[in-house]
């Protein structure tokens, strides 16, 4: 017998969304699943290696949830298109593979047309009816043999909540793979029918699934129906929806703030320890302020990213997100989008990078592009430190309620601008009408915490890797610009930083930024935050000569308030602050976002467009706010 060590078989999980595919995949692969690196695919496709009893390695891949394999060219970027091309690629590669279709045991008819498509395309199939515990609860029993014979492929019934499910799956896979080696014996048993025909499918299911209790009463309204009566109520629905969204964002501030402060403190201690060990000097300064400072900024954002990503995954997995899309579709349609755009736009309030990737749930390519171009306008976590600094510096006298209101107002301005931008884009650059909404409203269910946890960990590590690298690089480059003296400027008096490359560039930009009330110091801050807006506060700190501005912004606030122009008048005022806020609301100061847009659109045109349009609009807005502020009599 041939030794089967190190044989790899590709196992592909396929199925409708909400079929229980994710839970079963999770049960089979456990913590080992990682995001695979597949050419040409920008979405999260999980991959893991699982060892079978005989030493074969199953390379298990979780394809996106799909309704059909029949797609056209235009659908290449959708979940269906991705799954289809993935399957075709594996088939063409000649390696051994198996497709496992996961289907909801309580809604088998729905799955069977996909089953037929998989078989028609010539893929080897194992049919797995999941959520068998739900079927038991409905007092029904599934005769898997009838189903397998009717489909013409091996079949198994499972529940992800069963402790033995991993072993059962492994055994079923091994059996299925063995079956395909002897097709003759398999064909003798099967009487496959054309299950793509809905009538045939329904008859097959009627034969395979029977009520245990023949005198079963018809079921009353389900939990989902009862809950929808509230959550989709014409008045209560939207109110609850707004309430829920506010709760999510409140949680970000209340819970993540102290954690962020804690992380900041730890980084500061680490930097101090490094300086104590090695002493002060240029290299240490580069390491502590450039690299460590950048790393600290990234880590400080992690609590917010974790909480928001947890909340959004919870909303999605529980089934509520589809209800949100239902409520918002009409409104979004007026702006050229659809209910599906709701999730990416919501995610953009945490971080634009995962939001850009999430736009793949929008099937219409022009609508997807528009949403990507507009997501950077959503108020992401990274804008908050700058908002907080400006509000506390220039509006301290107005009291906390006023500042809180402005904060909330800034969020709404971001959303409003995003919607207006979408409207304009849909009439000009990404012209077209959206595909009409077709969105499954799944039954409400309690998400599995382990699945949630893994998703959050993946999002967090992806954030650290993608955004973190950019920020650390940007922070290091910025350090160089701030500490390397500009040749020829050595004669100038004052602190060393005012002779740096950054300062000289900042001064040269002054004629351009004066109408917006920005002087060279703010210009340096904007240069510094070009790569990552999180760096604004730290950069301002350095240029104002304040150490550790990220950790404690009170000294920086004082410096900003007391800074003077050459003629002795205050350099900055609430007018400037408002203009700078306006700039920050709009400008896409995040190279990671630009890179994400490049990845998703596979072109340089659209990321360049986003940079140009947001910076141009931001500049105009800042100038307008500053000038109008002057007319209105602001200081």
């Amino acid at each position: 017998m041939k030794k089967k060590d190190h044989t790899t078989v590709a196992v592909l999980f396929v199925g409708r969304p909400n079929s229980g595919k994710t839970s079963l995949y999770n049960a089979l692969t456990g913590a080992d699943a990682h995001v695979g690196n597949f050419p040409g695919i920008t979405v999260d496709v999980l991959e893991a290696d699982v060892l079978a009893k005989d030493g074969t390695v199953y390379r298990v891949t979780d394809l996106p949830g799909i309704y059909t394999l029949c797609t056209s060219e235009a659908d290449a970027g959708t979940d269906e298109g991705i799954a289809r091309s993935f399957l075709e690629r594996v088939k063409a590669s000649g390696e051994r593979y198996l497709v496992i279709q996961i289907a909801d045991a309580t809604k088998l008819e729905l799955a069977l047309s996909l089953t037929q498509e998989i078989l028609d395309a010539g893929h080897p199939l194992l049919f797995a009816a999941s959520q068998r515990d739900e079927l038991d609860r409905e007092n029904k029993v599934l005769d898997i043999t009838i189903l397998a014979r009717g489909i013409g492929a091996p079949a198994i019934a499972l529940s992800a909540r069963d402790g033995q499910v991993k072993q059962r799956l492994l055994d079923a896979i091994a059996n299925a793979l063995g079956t395909f080696i002897t097709p003759a014996s398999q064909k003798a048993e099967a009487e496959p029918q054309q299950t793509r025909d809905p009538i045939v499918a329904r008859e097959l299911v009627a034969k395979a699934v029977r009520h245990q209790d023949q005198s079963a009463k018809p079921q009353g309204p389900t939990f989902t129906t009862k809950l929808d009566a509230w959550l989709l109520h014409p008045i209560i629905g939207p109110v609850l929806f707004l309430g829920l969204m506010s709760l999510v964002f409140a949680a970000v501030f209340l819970v993540s703030d102290p954690m962020t402060a804690l992380i900041d403190r730890c980084i500061q201690l680490a930097g101090d320890a490094a300086e104590r060990q090695v002493g002060k000097g240029l290299a240490i300064s580069f390491f502590v302020q450039g690299v460590l400072g950048g790393a600290g900024t990234v880590l400080a954002f992690l609590p917010q990213i974790v909480i928001l990503s947890f909340a959004m995954e919870l909303l999605d997995a529980s089934g509520y997100l589809a209800r949100g899309a239902f409520l918002l579709d009409r409104g979004l349609r007026g702006l050229g989008l659809s209910g599906r755009a709701f999730l990416p736009l919501l995610m953009g309030h945490a971080c634009a990078i995962p939001a850009i990737a999430a736009t793949r749930i929008i099937r219409d390519p022009k609508e997807r592009l528009t949403t990507m171009l507009v997501v950077p306008l959503m108020t992401c976590s990274a804008r908050i430190p700058t908002y907080a600094l400006l509000l506390s510096t220039f509006f301290a006298h107005k009291g906390p309620l006023f500042r809180a209101l402005i904060f909330v107002g800034l969020y709404f301005v971001g959303i409003l601008l995003g919607l207006i931008a979408s409207l304009v884009l849909r009439k000009t650059v990404t012209r077209g009408k959206s595909l009409p909404l077709v969105l499954e409203m799944p039954a409400y269910r309690a998400p599995q915490l382990s699945v949630l946890r893994k998703h959050v960990v993946r999002t967090g590590s992806r954030f650290i890797k993608d955004v973190g690298t950019t920020i650390v690089i940007a922070s290091s480059v910025l350090w160089l610009l701030l500490y390397v003296p500009m040749p020829g400027a050595a004669h100038r008096e004052g602190p060393a930083v005012e002779r740096s490359v950054a300062a000289v560039v900042g001064r040269s930009l002054e004629p351009l930024t004066k109408p917006a009330g920005f002087d060279w110091r703010i210009n340096v801050g904007l240069i510094g935050s070009f790569g990552a807006r999180e760096l604004m506060v730290g950069t301002l700190g350095v240029i104002m000569g304040v150490e550790g501005a990220d950790q404690d912004s009170a000294p920086l606030a004082d410096k900003l308030r007391s800074a003077k122009k050459p003629d002795g008048t205050p350099a900055y005022s609430s007018r400037t602050a408002l203009a700078l806020l306006a700039f920050f609301v709009i400008a896409c100061q995040c190279l990671s976002t630009v890179a994400a847009i490049r990845r998703e659109t596979r072109s340089l045109k659209w990321p360049a467009f986003v940079l140009v349009y947001t910076y141009a609009l931001a500049y105009v807005a800042a100038v307008l706010v500053y000038q109008v502020g002057g007319l209105l009599g602001f200081a």
Binding site: Y67, T68, C70, S72, T106, K107, E109, L110, S113, L114, P198, I199, T224, T225, D228, L232, P234, A322, A325, F326, L327, D329, R330, R333, G339, L435, P436, L437, V438, L439, E440, M441, P442, A443
Partner: protein
């Protein structure tokens, strides 16, 4: 009003009335997608609610699955009383 057998559309179906889908009158790709999602010719369907201002309809199909369906699409799904 007599319940004639003349097909109406899903968009015009009163809430809570179960009707049979006669045909989906739209382009091939959309029709295929709708059937794949679960709204199939020959199956029954019911409108649970409508979003305000002409928004989508909340439909329950015979197999038990529920969808949000744009009003424009619902107007292309011909039904008759079952």
């Amino acid at each position: 009003m007599s319940m004639g057998s003349a097909p109406r559309t899903l968009a015009a179906l009163p809430l809570g009335v179960v009707a049979r889908i006669v045909s989906i009158v739209t382009d091939t790709a959309t029709r295929h997608y709708l059937m794949a999602v679960g709204l199939r010719e020959g199956d029954t369907a019911e409108v649970l609610r409508r979003a305000i201002f002409g928004g989508p309809l909340h439909i329950r199909a015979e197999c038990g699955a529920e969808f949000a369906l744009a009003k424009a699409l619902a107007e292309q799904v011909r039904v008759e009383s079952s």
